[in-house]
Symmetry: C4
Subunit: 202 residues, 4 copies
């Protein structure tokens, strides 16, 4: 299996996850503004999940592009990552329908934390499967990874304090925000690899 | 990230949006003609959304193909555009189930207007990210963009006048109609770019 | 727009149509065999739609591959074809839930007939957009098209006769059966075009 | 039709099957831990189906990549395989909602067995359609196929013994476990074919 194939499949699954979440929002139960307001928590929660999955997609994409080869461990970890990510639609629905109650919010934070952890596990697997040292050097700067974990953990703590737990959703957006910007490290890996290959050909 | 990747992901999301809208139509609640008639508003509304999303897809596709490179701003604006577009299935359901009531129709018009605005913002981002002047010149003719905004605003006004608000849905189709025809400006950009590249190679 | 792009989008939409139809089948309402039997009409109807959409996909795919270029008319007709096809999931649900009642079956036959007609309209558009005469000669043998229309019309007549209307679903499968076998005419067009291009290069 | 096209379509359908299964999990009916616990059987069952479909995807992908050409029989068998696989989402819902009752579990095992059988039929079709002997030799080692069938049959027997039937789901995971590891035989076929083609070119 080439990385291209794994990419295509993962892209497909993530595109479907990001889009079916909208099915969680019920059609308003009446034809007036208050009926629309009633589904507003769902709409907000949907927008947050959309951003989280979008950021995850951008990263995951760069990571697989930088990967040199695919082995069994990467396949399994990737499947685990997609499995965790696929719980977001249902959790989005739970948080929205419960009007941001504490327990749904906490479980939602846990799913986000699980996605971050399994992503970083996948990153670890990709880095250690690679034969060249370019990826390892590029991945040494782990500031973004630490930021995400730190802010996700902060959101987890916030989810235990009544009232403060409303800050969880903005925190989850903050956790992934730096990832939306294309990951320059991975970009450099792809460029370096292309250069190397061209040198070998010359 | 190359534009090809962004295209593939956006294509996937738009294809899913266009298709899951059908899930909004309930199975008729009986086995006779009146039962089918009862879901007719939903069917009409579905067909309108299908055309709107289809036209959006054709444009978006041409725009990304004409884009030379992808930066963080384009990624964010593209995500915003897809987010707005993804509200169409639920809104289609609301308009259809409310039998074209005024408030659902108005919100539906607003989502369409939001899609048009975020698309034109994306167009602006792509044009200003591009290094060559071909795209800028090609995009100077903004008649289609002005038509869409004008007709969408007309639909918004119509949505405030009882009775006249039934004209909103035909207006929304009229707003996107010129877009279905492949955008010749963008096509020319791609051709010009290809020529240029070939000249450089010779 | 190249045909490749139109293909990819149409493939995406058809793959989603074929798969979301399964969502029409409700989870059985109990844990015993009779509960599974209660959803059996839905399962049968789902399998029929699966085959119909599958056959449509194979054809549509060959047709677009044989097409030399894409114009506005082809885009519109293709959108119409996908729109008609996308009503199959809901209609499948109606037929199944009504236990093959006459009116749902008749509407289902009409959607199938509509898909066949819009497909043949698309075929007409593609053939007349093409500049070379290869496609026109290849498409002269219209036996498969006539078979599909004839059997679909037979199914429409059957849907008006109580009792006989149960034959409609097998008839719809028979109508598309010859299409599952790859369309040799279109295949020859692609081969002929490739040969021609190679000759021009030599 | 090239194998690439069949691959892309099958990949799309499988990616959608794996993702829409999550829609089977209802949003918990309350905001407390017991409400989450109530959907736990669904979550477990979803995770199992996710792994089963994931393993099926990896295999199917390798098989089609190794295939030299596509004929009508392969198309039909592939459609049958996708049809069987597409029943997994609904069956997952039935098993989960019935709290692992005996009959839903037995039907779920039967669908898994059907997927294994139709996959092996597809494998047979691909091997016998191939003109070269590489694929035939590579496919002689049928240990994985026998393991899957044996464990699936064991699960079927277990589904008839009250109490023991809870072992069915772990057994189904065990049946597909060896497939997650990329199929080295098919990989070698692709490599051998590439070598051969290169020799012919030299």
């Amino acid at each position: 299996m080439t990385t291209g194939r794994l990419e295509a499949f993962s892209d497909g699954v993530i595109a479907i996850i990001i889009t079916i979440t909208i099915l969680i929002i019920d059609v308003p139960n009446g034809n007036d503004w208050p009926d629309l307001l009633a589904v507003l928590p769902l709409v907000i929660c949907y927008a947050i999940s959309f951003i989280v999955v979008g950021a995850n997609w951008v990263n995951h994409h760069h990571l697989l592009q930088a990967a040199g080869s695919v082995n069994g461990k990467i396949l399994w970890t990737n499947l685990l990552y997609l499995l965790v990510l696929s719980f977001l639609p249902v959790m989005t629905g739970w948080v929205g329908k419960s009007d941001f109650s504490m327990i749904p919010v906490r479980v939602y934070v846990l799913v986000n934390l699980g996605a971050a952890l399994s992503y970083q596990l996948l990153e670890y697997m990709v880095i250690h499967a690679d034969d060249c040292k370019i990826l390892k050097t590029a991945a040494e700067d782990r500031r973004k990874e630490r930021w995400t974990l730190a802010v996700d953990l902060l959101a987890l703590i916030a989810s235990f304090i009544p009232g403060v737990h409303y800050a969880c959703c903005p925190l989850l957006v903050a956790a992934v925000a730096p990832w939306i910007i294309p990951d320059l490290r991975m970009k450099r890996v792809v460029e370096l690899r292309n250069e190397k290959e061209q040198n070998r050909m010359d």
